[in-house]
């Protein structure tokens, strides 16, 4: 039987506010345990939450960015359950009336076509603390620094039909929230994580199958792997006559498998009800319109602009604009170097991206900054160095040997453009390779490449390749 996969994602984006959603404590990452938890975060008797308006503004920004309905009146609700890192015994979240309603965004599929994915809702909530196991001789430590950190939970429609689509959607949300500056997008620190609801159904069937919820996946790669492995599991279950049960499963990246955490029967009854400590959030039209007017250029618009203004292919424009920092880097290189945009794009997506991946760095941490990159592009544009030498220059800059000019100078990489000097080298090569000259003149034009290689080698790559080509041709045909 042919199966169809149905996926919906719940993404938790940590909002980049300075203080927590209901208290004045700092949200900075990495502090000593429990040093960033005030009386409100600790859930001491008598304390009350006060809503951080910045978190509301950020949620509204997201809402207008995905063309969603904004809840004019949204209500915070208590989600009641006991857990040691949940200080109040309830999480303040939103339930019936979320701040962001139905919206949508476009993702690009592998075949280059576009697909619209619906966003059911996005709501504000507070994060819980962390339980620390292992360091306390059989006891559990509680760190409440993260308790009360603002989250935007973004719930998609079950619109994705493959793990690749789910990743494309997750990447798109990631671009949007980072473009908006409402989330730092840092997945290692847990600022951006997702749960995936996965089910399968016979192709052509309208009804959804029973779904499993995969919890807390914190990388794009793991989302794809976790979904694929879960789909395989569900197919195995159904094809061997079993039934998929509704449950929460955990993806184990080390073993590349999903494991049951709890079934529907064991699920909590959260006893949601409106939080009487907080007033409903009323948002006026003027506020929404102002947020809409203040929207920055978003990835889709930027991509269109790159295609139109820079003449970039759609693929390149998509890759460069997926990450805001990368796009900014690229724009700076184009602007400062004045070099051809496509050439700049190739360098950013090629050499730079490879080096970053190899060293596991973010573009913001790149040892070669946009200014250094532009300097190098300029030296290529004015023929001081060839593309091939540029790779050497790039590696030296990456290794911290200074900017392009300093590297070219120190290593003597300046291109040889003097025709006389190149001719001397060519004459030498032709004299030493009489047999190949015969072959060429006998009609085997393939050996031309051999001569180019020899000349470049003899010049240590510094001879201007264009001139080498021209001079070689004229000499061989003489």
């Amino acid at each position: 039987m042919e199966w169809e996969t149905v996926i919906g994602l719940e993404i938790h984006a940590q909002l980049a506010t300075k203080s927590k959603i209901f208290s004045g404590a700092s949200t900075a990452y990495g502090a000593e345990p429990n040093t960033q938890a005030c009386a409100v975060d600790l859930g001491l008797p008598g304390v009350l939450p006060v809503l951080n308006k910045e978190a509301v503004a950020m949620a509204v920004k997201f809402g207008v960015a995905i063309d969603a309905e904004i809840g004019k009146r949204s209500v915070f609700a208590r989600k009641n359950y006991f857990y040691p890192d949940l200080p109040k015994g309830y999480q303040i979240s939103q339930f019936e009336l979320p701040i962001v309603g139905l919206g949508h965004l476009d993702i690009e599929l592998e075949d280059g076509s576009t697909k619209t994915v619906g966003v059911t809702r996005a709501h504000l909530e507070e994060d819980a603390g962390k339980s620390l196991h292992g360091e306390f001789q059989g006891m559990t430590g509680i760190d409440l620094n993260r308790a009360g950190t603002p989250l935007l939970e973004i719930v998609s429609e079950p619109d994705m039909r493959s793990a690749k689509e789910a990743v494309a959607y997750m990447r798109k949300i990631h671009s949007i929230v980072t473009y908006l500056g409402i989330c730092d997008g840092n997945m290692q620190e847990g600022s951006f994580r997702c749960d995936a609801n996965v089910s399968i159904r016979p192709k052509g069937q309208e009804e959804y199958g029973t779904r499993a919820e995969l919890k807390n996946i914190n990388s794009f790669r793991f989302v794809e792997k976790a979904i694929n492995i879960e789909v395989e599991r569900q197919i195995d279950v159904l094809e061997s006559g079993g039934k998929v049960v509704q449950e929460t499963r955990l993806y184990d990246a080390d073993k590349d498998e999903t494991r049951s955490m709890r079934s529907k029967e064991e699920a909590n009854d959260y006893r949601y009800f409106p939080d009487p400590d907080l007033l409903p959030v009323e948002i006026e039209d003027g506020f929404i319109e102002a947020a809409r007017a203040a929207l920055p250029e978003l990835p889709d618009q930027k991509k269109q602009r790159y295609i139109a203004d820079f003449g970039l292919p759609s693929y390149d424009a998509g890759v460069l604009t997926a990450d805001r920092e990368t796009a900014l880097f690229f724009e700076q290189v184009v602007e400062k170097s004045g070099a051809d945009a496509k050439l700049c794009a190739n360098w950013v997506q090629g050499e730079l991206s490879a080096a970053l991946n190899k060293d596991g760095l973010e573009i913001a941490q790149s040892p070669v900054n946009a200014e250094m990159m532009s300097g190098m592009m300029q030296r290529m544009a004015d023929n001081t160095i060839s593309g091939k030498i540029a790779k050497q220059v790039f590696q030296a800059m990456w290794a911290g040997e200074g900017d392009a000019d300093a590297v070219i100078e120190a290593k003597g990489l300046k291109q040889i453009t003097d025709s006389g000097a190149i001719e001397t080298i060519i004459d030498d090569i032709l004299a030493n390779n009489a047999a190949q000259v015969e072959q060429y003149r006998g009609g085997n034009e393939k050996v031309f490449g051999f001569f180019v290689g020899q000349v470049m080698k003899a010049s240590q790559g510094k001879a201007n390749p264009q001139q080498v080509n021209e001079l070689l041709k004229s000499k061989l045909q003489a």
Binding site: A39, L42, G43, L44, P45, G46, V47, L48, P49, V50, L51, R78, N80, F82, P84, P87, K88, G89, Y90, I142, D269, R271, Y272, F273, P276, D277, L278, L279
Partner: protein
């Protein structure tokens, strides 16, 4: 000295008749001598009080005194007090030293008032007789075999017995007004949102409101002047100007329209209480007020509505008492579930557990609509009754409690009869309206309270109406024989 009102004590300190330290010491001695009979205090903060008194004396000497600087008071043990045990009447918090002051407490500190200690109360403010306290029952100074009412029974008994000139209370369903009535003192529950709830341990957040418990309306006005006002730490507090609540005390009551809800004078009302309340209404007529019979048709729904809303909120509010971070933790928990179950099972008393169970049930999937949502709708209907009534009248009057103080143990095995003690007070909480109880005579040897309910934020009018009555009656000056 102990028979003086707040206003008189303040004048005495300022004129140099006595110092704050002398006054404070005399109250501490009185508490030490007499509270053994009443059990109205959980903690007496003797050292702290004398320190505060000496600081107040300096402040007065420096000419920087506010209206109540140097005058002592006590706080219900539901208000967090920095460095002082804040137990909420529960074993659960017997070891809890609050690390901060409630907004109400810090306002009184800033005003220079002296804290004598923390008063007894029903556990987590759940009770109408002060019998559910982990620290034992409080006795009514008018008859030591009877209850002082609850949940602010410790504050009420202490004020009635002249162990403190004034105390704070909180009122979720009548917890200021009903004990005020049963002990013959004056108690005011302000409009919801008038006084900050920050630092007041939550029972039912949408109903809880702090207020003063004093002997006179004038004293209540002086206290409310300090307590009332917007607090940015409480999102439900109102950002609204605070008047001087003493300013209108002396206005006459000519033409005042008093509504008497017929539902408040029917079956279940003790004859002695009815008689005293009717006599009080006659006094008002003599003061020039007009009396109109009105109807609050949904009165009968207020107790059932309250006993869904309040437990639902409390079931969630009390979840933080889990034995993990503060408060009681059971011995040697086997695992996490055991820690939760035994810490809560051993730390909470029966009435608290009963309400948590009822509340959790009312919020459960499948029951939410039938209970919680329905109760919210009824709450709206009950509010609407008042809105209509206030189109017709200025204030509503009736008995505060259907009976005078009852015997200890009489209702403790029958929660429903206990809940009905609050039948006349609960509606004002559900609607968020201000309400007062003022001493209005006796039935036998026990005091009767007259309840006055006003429109939103009309505390000034309530205080004026109460004060005028106290100018022509002396019920509020009566003291129990052994505590004179």
């Amino acid at each position: 000295m102990h028979n003086k009102t707040l206003a008189e004590l303040s004048a005495g300190i300022k004129s140099g008749e006595f110092s704050s330290e002398e006054l404070t010491l005399s109250y501490i001695q009185r508490i030490q001598k007499l509270d053994g009979q009443l059990n109205s205090f959980i903690t007496v903060t003797e050292k702290l009080a004398l320190q505060q008194a000496r600081a107040a004396d300096k402040r007065i000497a420096a000419g920087q005194a506010d209206a109540l600087t140097g005058v002592p008071l006590a706080h219900k043990d539901i208000f967090c007090t920095d460095g002082v045990r804040t137990s909420c009447g529960s074993k659960m918090l017997d070891n809890f030293i609050a690390p901060y002051d409630a907004s109400v407490v810090s306002r009184f500190k800033q005003a220079g008032m002296v804290t004598l200690g923390k008063t007894n109360m029903d556990e987590f403010a759940m009770g109408s007789s002060n019998e559910t306290s982990f620290y034992g029952a409080v006795k009514n100074p008018w008859d030591l075999d009877t209850v002082p009412g609850g949940s602010s029974g410790g504050s009420a008994a202490a004020v009635a017995a002249r162990l403190v000139p004034a105390a704070t209370g909180t009122d979720t369903g009548g917890s200021i007004r009903q004990p005020a009535a049963l002990t013959g003192i004056t108690g005011l529950k302000p409009t919801y949102g008038r006084v900050s709830r920050y630092g007041m341990i939550a029972f039912a957040s949408s109903l809880d409101q702090a207020g003063p418990m004093t002997r006179t309306a004038e004293d209540a006005a002086l206290m409310l002047n300090v307590m009332a006002g917007f607090d940015e730490r409480d999102s439900t507090s109102m950002d609204r100007a605070v008047p001087d609540y003493t300013a209108e005390l002396n206005q006459d009551l000519k033409g005042l329209k008093i509504g008497l809800p017929k539902e408040y004078f029917g079956e279940g009302l003790d004859a002695g209480v009815a008689k005293a309340v009717e006599a009080a209404i006659e006094e008002y007529k003599k003061l020039g007020a007009e009396v109109v019979e009105i109807s609050l048709p949904n009165t009968g729904l207020s107790v059932p509505t309250y006993y869904v809303v309040a437990p639902a909120e409390c079931s969630s509010n009390l979840s933080r008492f889990d034995g993990v971070r503060f408060g009681y933790r059971c011995e040697d928990p086997k695992d996490l579930e055991d820690l939760y179950k035994r810490s809560r099972g051993e730390g909470f008393g029966d009435e608290v557990k009963r309400r948590i169970l009822v509340g959790a049930y009312a919020l459960s999937a499948g029951y939410y609509d039938a209970y919680y949502l329905k109760a919210q709708k009824l709450r709206r209907l009950i509010s609407d009754d008042f809105t209509k009534a206030f189109e017709q009248v200025d204030v509503i009057m009736g008995p505060t409690s259907p009976s005078v103080a009852f015997k200890r143990g009489e209702r403790s095995d029958d929660p429903v009869s206990m809940y009905l003690s609050d039948i006349f007070t609960i509606a004002a909480n559900l609607a968020g309206l201000p309400g007062m109880s003022v001493p209005a005579g006796f039935a036998g040897k026990l005091p009767v309270g007259l309840q006055i309910i006003g429109n939103y934020f009309e505390e000034s009018r309530l205080l004026n109406v109460a004060h005028q009555y106290q100018q022509v009656t002396d019920w509020h000056t009566r003291a129990p024989e052994e505590f004179k």
